[in-house]
């Protein structure tokens, strides 16, 4: 039996508090009636009502959501294919380069990814806007999908696939009937992560966007650069609530936990 010492408990409490206090403070202040952000003026939903009439903000939110849906889906398809290539097809020509291109974007500073993609779009004279951001987000997110799906693929019992094929199933049918259902939790987790990354991104979108495609983070950034604004507290609180509900629901179904760390690996 493992012992949890007082020191362990204190570290946990301090660590978790550190992670959550700022978020809780933000949400509480979003209900502040006062125009002055730092002065508490009683509870109010005023700033949420202000948001409903902010057409530019709602427009930005709708662009961001469409962008995230599209790029997450594209990234999931590409990322899953890349994971299959890495785990299932062993040594192929250019594997080292391929693997390098999967792992490097995970740590590449966003400023560089954004700048380089913009220069590509300029070089090929592509009209910058919704579609260029979608391509950029797909590229950035697919590598995260690959890593998540890859660990799941490496885990499962290959003989299931072999059995299906011995029984005459085509590779394509084997994939959809056996492989995909088994890796589905990881694929879904990958999609959610890609969605969150796209919805989150400020830097890459700022570089690759064009007129008429202002995403929600770009809009929020331009508002908060010069200081705290009560409406922005409300927007951020709504986004936090959406994420909290989505992630908690998903993890209750065990999807995220199975994809991130594998159950059954826990020792007692």
């Amino acid at each position: 039996m493992r012992k949890v010492s007082a020191f362990n408990l204190v570290s946990l409490a301090v660590g978790i508090a550190f992670l959550y206090v700022p978020i809780v403070v933000l949400v509480i202040y979003s209900f502040n009636a006062s125009r002055l952000v730092a002065v508490w003026g009683g509870w109010s939903l005023h700033w949420y009502a202000v948001l409903v009439n902010d057409a530019a903000l709602i427009d930005a939110a709708s662009i961001s959501i469409r962008l995230a849906l599209l790029s997450a889906s594209a990234a999931t398809v590409l990322g899953t294919l890349a994971a299959l290539a890495l785990v299932r097809f062993g040594r192929f020509r250019g594997r080292l380069l391929f693997a390098a291109m999967i792992y490097a974007p995970l740590v590449m500073p966003e400023v560089i990814t954004g700048l380089s993609l913009l220069l590509l779009f300029v070089a090929v004279a592509a009209d910058r806007g919704f579609w260029t951001v979608a391509v950029a987000h797909t590229t950035m997110a697919m590598c995260f999908v690959t890593v998540i799906v890859q660990s799941r693929l490496a885990d499962f019992d290959r003989s299931l696939e072999e059995a299906a094929m011995d029984l005459g199933a085509s590779p394509l049918k084997t994939f959809f009937a056996v492989t995909l259902p088994l890796i589905l939790p990881a694929v879904i987790a990958g999609w959610m992560l890609a969605f969150a990354l796209s919805l989150d991104d400020l830097v890459i979108a700022s570089f690759t966007t064009g007129p008429g495609a202002t995403t929600l983070p770009i809009r929020i950034y331009s508002e908060v650069r010069l200081g705290v604004k009560p409406e922005m507290n409300a927007v951020c609180s709504i986004m936090i609530a959406v994420v909290a509900v989505a992630v908690t629901t998903a993890s209750l179904f065990g999807k995220l936990t199975t994809a991130r760390g594998r159950p059954g690996r826990v020792q007692t």
């Binding site: 493992r2 949890v4 010492s5 020191f7 362990n8 570290s11 946990l12 660590g15 978790i16 992670l19 959550y20 700022p22 403070v25 933000l26 202040y29 730092a38 990322g79 294919l81 890349a82 290539a85 097809f89 391929f98 693997a99 390098a100 291109m101 490097a104 740590v107 590449m108 500073p109 966003e110 400023v111 560089i112 700048l115 380089s116 993609l117 950029a136 797909t138 890859q150 490496a154 094929m165 011995d166 085509s170 590779p171 400020l202 830097v203 570089f207 929020i220 908060v224 200081g227 705290v228 951020c236 986004m239 936090i240 994420v243 992630v247 908690t248 936990t257 991130r260 760390g261 020792q267």
Partner: protein, 303 residues
């Protein structure tokens, strides 16, 4: 892949589609950045010269190569603004990563000590903030750190300070923001290795009369080194190029390199200089990135 022989066409497709995508949207853009870093600014569209003009045939190609120069790199080397910006980024990334290790290790260690059910809950609690936007999390700190914000309220109430100090636009604010935002990236890899640690080794050390701190130093820490390396790289590399955190919490007096690229690009419209700064940054990060890739590939193969 004997039993996939029939699917060789499919197999090629599975490899080639993501491969070509990455070549086109990850590798090719870098080649273009490299090329533009050797160009000159121009008041034109696109705002740099030379532009490769293939319609001019061989003459166009030679004119293109003759027009390339290393002027932008000479500028970076000679202008203290750039040099200081690089140094500041590396300094902040190094200290912040060290702080993350000091803060993250006890948390990861404590999570690994709890029962499996609690581990799942605690890991989720650590991951959850990471799913919300970085921009929002940094903005949350703007609320707390402003002059009449919560932190100063608390400090004043406890009579720790007489006049409220300014937190925003200081390096302290940058450190707080970075440690806060990157904590999950440090805790998760550390937890993953600590959780696998064989407890009987520690019991053996204790049975042989080894004090707890010494057992930690001689057994736990060395065995968790792969997690430490992964966490350090996963934090250090992106922090060097961080833009949002220093821009919102730090001042603009001594910018980090990500801010410098941003300003060159959006403010000064100097695309060649921004590209050259980016190329030097990648060169600076190449060693840690290669170590990270090596680690990631080994971890993927071990799984």
């Amino acid at each position: 892949m004997a039993n996939l022989r029939n699917g060789s066409f499919l197999q090629k497709l599975v490899v080639r589609v993501p491969f070509i995508w990455l070549l086109a949207f990850f590798l090719l853009p870098f080649v273009i950045v490299l090329k533009i870093s050797l160009s000159q600014t121009a008041i034109a569209r696109p705002p740099y010269t030379p532009v490769l003009d293939l319609t001019a045939g061989w003459h166009g190609v030679t004119a293109f190569f003759a027009g390339l120069s290393f002027d932008n790199y000479a500028l970076i080397g000679s202008d203290p603004l750039y040099v200081l910006s690089y140094l500041k980024s590396v300094e902040i990334a190094a200290f912040a990563t060290l702080m993350l290790l000091v803060v993250g290790y006890p948390v990861a260690y404590a999570i690994a000590r709890t029962s499996p059910r609690w581990q799942a809950v605690l890991v989720l609690l650590v991951i959850l903030p990471f799913w919300t936007s970085l921009l929002i999390r940094v903005y949350a700190w703007m609320n707390i750190l402003q002059r009449d914000g919560l932190l100063n309220d608390v400090l004043m109430a406890l009579s720790l300070v007489k006049t409220p100090p300014a937190w925003l636009a200081t390096d302290t604010a940058i450190y707080i923001g970075i440690v806060y935002s990157y904590l999950p990236f440090m805790v998760l890899p550390l937890y993953a290795t600590l959780e696998k640690l064989d407890q009987s080794l520690l019991e053996a050390a204790a049975d042989l009369g080894c004090p707890r701190w010494k057992a930690f130093w001689l057994v736990t820490l060395p065995l968790s080194s792969s997690g430490v390396i992964a966490g350090v790289l996963l934090c250090f590399i992106p922090i060097v190029g961080e833009f949002v955190i220093p821009d919102l919490l730090g001042g603009s007096r001594a910018p980090m390199i990500g801010q410098t690229i941003w300003v060159e690009f959006f403010g000064n419209q100097d695309w060649p200089a921004a590209s050259a700064v980016a190329v030097v940054l990648v060169c600076l990060l190449v060693t840690p990135i290669v170590i990270y890739q090596h680690q990631a590939m080994r971890a993927a193969e071990r799984d």
